[in-house]
């Protein structure tokens, strides 16, 4: 090798000069950030990677160049000048501009906004309002081209009737979406009371963060928050979430679920009405039966008392009768004894045997001494009497006037 050799430094200078031929202002590189570090608050370094190709680009920049925060996992696009650092022999990209793109970045800004709104109290459970039980007017905010529109109305019609749906056709994605949605919220809330819906439904089908950007927009979240009319928000599928969901009074999982949350089902309400009817009827029936029972009870009681009185009466009667029966023969025995006795002492019977009764001055004469000669006496015989005059008297000598 007779030719003159370059020193390493000279060679690397040559490479770097060659690298400057790349039109760095026009070339944009996109990849995912990893191993993001900040040294001494000034020097930012990270790896930019392709997921598939396992290619790594070492990046370097200053914190002043970094306009919006980046972090590991974020997808970014960047511009910069490639360079080999002579001292370490490392190839690096001196980044001049970097901007987050795609899901990763949106996810990040979503999380940041979510935290901000949460800290402000927009998701507070305390401010969630109850929906009317049987709404008659519903404001529907969605695109008429969205599947959500059809899903919502189909379930609404299946479950319930007689509702007036005011449909505000709004874009649910794209540049116009945020303005449309915010405008529709203002429109509904500005309606006079008699035309104003009792509940608003903001809905669309599911999608990635990019599709849902309007539902994650701060202005939309604040419009939901500011709505005087309660808001039901339903985005896509079960697992999808959006900031509008968190602010809304009710977060429904799908457009169909929103309809289910807003109106009851006919069957349920019919059943409930039937139950109420039955309950009233059975309570009334119970009352009537209770009163019937009371009347019966009183009637029975009166009957019972009467029966008892009758019993007592007849028992008393029986008692008296048996007592009478017991002492009646005795009484008649005594009576006939007395009669016999009386009959025996009857003076008439003695007179009938031939005795006479002498009476003077109305009194029976027991002693002739009571008499005076010449006195008048009455002699009572069994059948009649005679008047007589005393002819003689003897002391202690009894003389019968026979």
């Amino acid at each position: 090798m007779p030719e003159k050799a370059l020193s390493v430094g000279e060679y690397l200078t040559l490479v770097n000069q060659t690298l400057q031929c790349i039109p760095s202002h026009e070339v944009i590189v996109e990849g995912e950030v990893s191993d993001y570090r900040v040294a001494q608050g000034k020097w930012v370094s990270f790896d930019l990677k392709d997921e598939e190709a396992q290619a790594v680009l070492k990046c370097f920049m200053t914190t002043w160049q970094l306009k919006s925060p980046i972090e590991d996992g974020m997808r970014v696009q960047l511009k910069g000048a490639p360079k080999i650092y002579e001292r370490f022999g490392t190839f690096k990209m001196n980044v001049t501009e970097v901007a987050a793109v795609g899901e990763g970045a949106l996810r990040r800004s979503y999380e940041l906004l979510k935290k901000k709104l949460q800290d402000e109290g927009l998701f507070g459970e305390g401010r969630k309002r109850e929906l009317p039980r049987f709404p008659e007017r519903i404001g529907l905010l969605t695109s008429r081209d969205a599947a959500a529109y059809g899903d919502f109305l189909r379930i609404l019609n299946n479950r319930w009737g007689g509702v007036q749906v005011l449909h505000a056709h709004v874009h649910v994605q794209g540049r116009e979406a945020v303005g449309d949605i915010v405008g529709a919220f203002q429109f509904f809330n500005a309606l006079p009371a008699e035309k104003r819906p009792e509940v608003l439904v903001l809905t669309r089908g599911g999608g990635g963060l990019e599709d849902l950007h309007a539902f994650n927009d701060e202005a939309v979240a604040r419009a939901v928050y500011a709505s005087e009319i309660p808001v039901v928000c339903a985005v896509g599928h079960e697992r999808d979430e959006s900031l509008a969901d968190f602010v809304a009074d009710i977060r429904a999982s799908t457009p169909s679920n929103a309809a289910e949350r807003i109106v009851p089902s006919r069957q349920d309400v019919l059943y409930e009405i039937g139950t109420l009817e039955q309950h009233m009827e059975s309570r009334l029936r119970d009352t009537i039966q209770d009163q019937q029972f009371s009347i019966e009870r009183v009637t029975n009681l009166i009957g019972f008392i009467l029966e008892r009185q009758k019993d007592r009466l007849s028992r008393a009667q029986e008692g008296i009768l048996s007592r009478v029966n017991a002492w009646l023969p005795r009484l008649s025995d005594r009576l006939s004894g007395s009669e016999r006795f009386l009959r025996q002492v009857d003076p008439k019977r003695i007179l009938a045997r031939g005795y006479s009764l002498v009476m003077a001055g109305g009194a029976v004469v027991r002693d002739a001494g009571q008499l005076e000669v010449g006195g008048e006496i009455t002699v009572q015989f069994a059948t009649s009497s005679a008047q007589a005059r005393i002819l003689r008297l003897k002391d202690k000598g009894q003389q019968k006037l026979v």
Binding site: P132, R133, F134, E136, L140, R144, L153, L156, N157, W160, G161, G162, V163, Q164, V165, L166, H167, A168, H169, V170, E176, G179, D180, I181, V182, G183, A184, Q186, F187, R266, V269, L270, I273, L276, E277, H279, M280, E281, R283, L284, T287, I288, D290, Q291
Partner: protein, 69 residues
């Protein structure tokens, strides 16, 4: 706009029916006369509500305003 003016407000009628049913539970000794009157009113409400439930149509009205800001 709904063409026919709704003669029965579903919410009000339903609440009244619930109130009546609650009344039946409120006391042990119901006044039979009052009970019969309430029962009659309850049945009337229930039948009106059922009639309303038979109504199946929901009306969709498109709002003409442009909302874009």
């Amino acid at each position: 706009m709904s063409a026919k003016k709704q003669e029965v407000n579903f919410t009000e009628a339903f609440s009244e029916l619930e109130e009546i049913t609650k009344w039946f539970d409120s006391e042990d000794q119901l006044d039979l006369d009052a009970g019969l009157k309430k029962f009659e009113r309850g049945l009337e409400l229930a039948s009106e509500l059922k009639k309303k439930l038979a109504q199946v149509e929901n009306k969709v009205e498109e709002i003409k305003e442009k909302f874009s800001q």
